[in-house]
């Protein structure tokens, strides 16, 4: 009973939250709260099989399907508040309240008496007892259910299938198109330049620097450029100066000879006899430690 009185207010609040949540994702997460609480209630009602099925099928499969569709449709697609049918919303709330009051008042006058014990019905265990019922008396319903599931799977594939209107471009087509663009518009036929990957951070958002010091805009993904998260080359240069100050290296000074290299930040590394490269190339690595 304690389980019930703890979970019932949570479930009702979460269900009410579904009504008022502006964003569909919030409604989905609140629905997850309701479903998991329901699973716990099933466990309290001596239905361990339904407890597992509720978690696996409802919160595991169905809710994830909802979330996937929400991601496809767009997470921030919020509800419109425009009333298309005049007076529909107040009328719906009134009808709902009426239904709720009638149900609650009517049902709370029931006296069902002491509940029977499921121990006798659960004799060899809940799952074998359920299987005995499903595969004997309800075997026809079970078979029809299986055909329903097959129909649903095929139907979902048919609905989600899209006929291709144009033939798929092959590698040869793409290569020919690239050469045609080069001939017509002078577009560079090779691959796009890689972004400037520096030691300071994962720098796909930092454009590569051309030899003259300007940024190569085509080296950054167009998606990042559209979001406005591209770091500018001057900001990067300031970062490098800042880093040098922190390391105690004189800003924009010439590369020092290898004998002057401080070894304290390299001392904790395991000795690597194969490392024969210039210690200056370790500046970036030392900055991270």
């Amino acid at each position: 009973m304690i389980t019930f009185w703890v979970l019932a207010p949570i479930m009702v609040l979460a269900a009410l939250g579904m009504l008022f949540a502006r964003k569909a994702v919030h409604a989905a997460l609140l629905l997850a709260v309701v479903m998991i609480s329901l699973a716990v209630l099933y466990a309290a009602l001596e239905a361990p099989f339904l407890f597992a099925v509720q978690i696996i099928v409802y919160t595991g499969a169905i809710l994830m399907l909802f979330l996937f569709v929400l991601m496809l449709v767009g997470v921030d697609a919020s509800d419109s508040v425009v009333e298309t049918i005049k007076g529909q919303r107040p009328l719906a709330i009134f009808t709902g309240l009426l239904l709720g009051i009638i149900l609650v008042l009517g049902l709370s006058q029931l006296s069902l008496g002491a509940s029977a014990n499921l121990d006798a019905a659960n004799d060899p265990g809940n799952v074998p007892a359920l299987a005995n019922i499903i595969f004997s008396r309800y075997v026809l319903a079970f078979e029809i259910t299986s055909s329903l599931l097959i129909t649903a799977a095929v139907g979902a594939m048919v609905l989600a299938h899209r006929e291709r209107l144009t033939p798929k471009a092959t590698q040869a087509d793409l290569a020919a198109k690239r050469m045609r663009d080069f001939a017509d518009k002078g577009t560079h036929p090779g691959p796009l330049p890689a972004p400037g990957v520096y030691a300071r951070h994962n720098a796909v958002d930092t454009p590569a620097l051309l030899p003259d010091g300007t940024a190569a805009e085509s080296s950054v993904s167009r998606v990042l450029a559209a979001r406005g998260t591209v770091r500018s080359a001057p900001a990067m240069a300031e970062d490098i100066e800042e880093l040098k100050r922190q390391l105690g290296v004189e800003p924009s000074g010439p590369a020092r000879p290898a004998s002057a290299e401080p070894v304290d930040d390299l001392a904790d590394r395991p000795a690597d006899p194969s490392r024969t490269d210039d210690p200056d190339s370790n500046h970036g690595g030392g900055a991270q430690s």
């Binding site: 009702v12 099933y42 169905i62 449709v73 419109s80 019922i133």
Partner: protein, 97 residues
Amino acid sequence: MTEYIVLSSILFTIGAVGVLVRRNAIVVFMCVELMLNACNLALVAFAKQHGNLEGQVAAFFVMVVAAAEVVIGLAIIMTIFRARRSASVDDASLLKF
């Protein structure tokens, strides 16, 4: 056992109001799921009340049918969204064009 039935009817009512009030087709669908879950709770509670497992079997079948229904319903919502770039139930008032 009455309080389980009352809780189930409250959840059912909230789901029904949600179906009537909300405009986003996916949220409407979630409210349908909430109503199905409320019915399942009533079935399981009655199974416990009567001391046999028929109610749990019925709840199990409801879950299976709900799974099939969600698959088809979400596929339809995706198809409508592809056609008119919106998941609002108002935009799909005509099943054509």
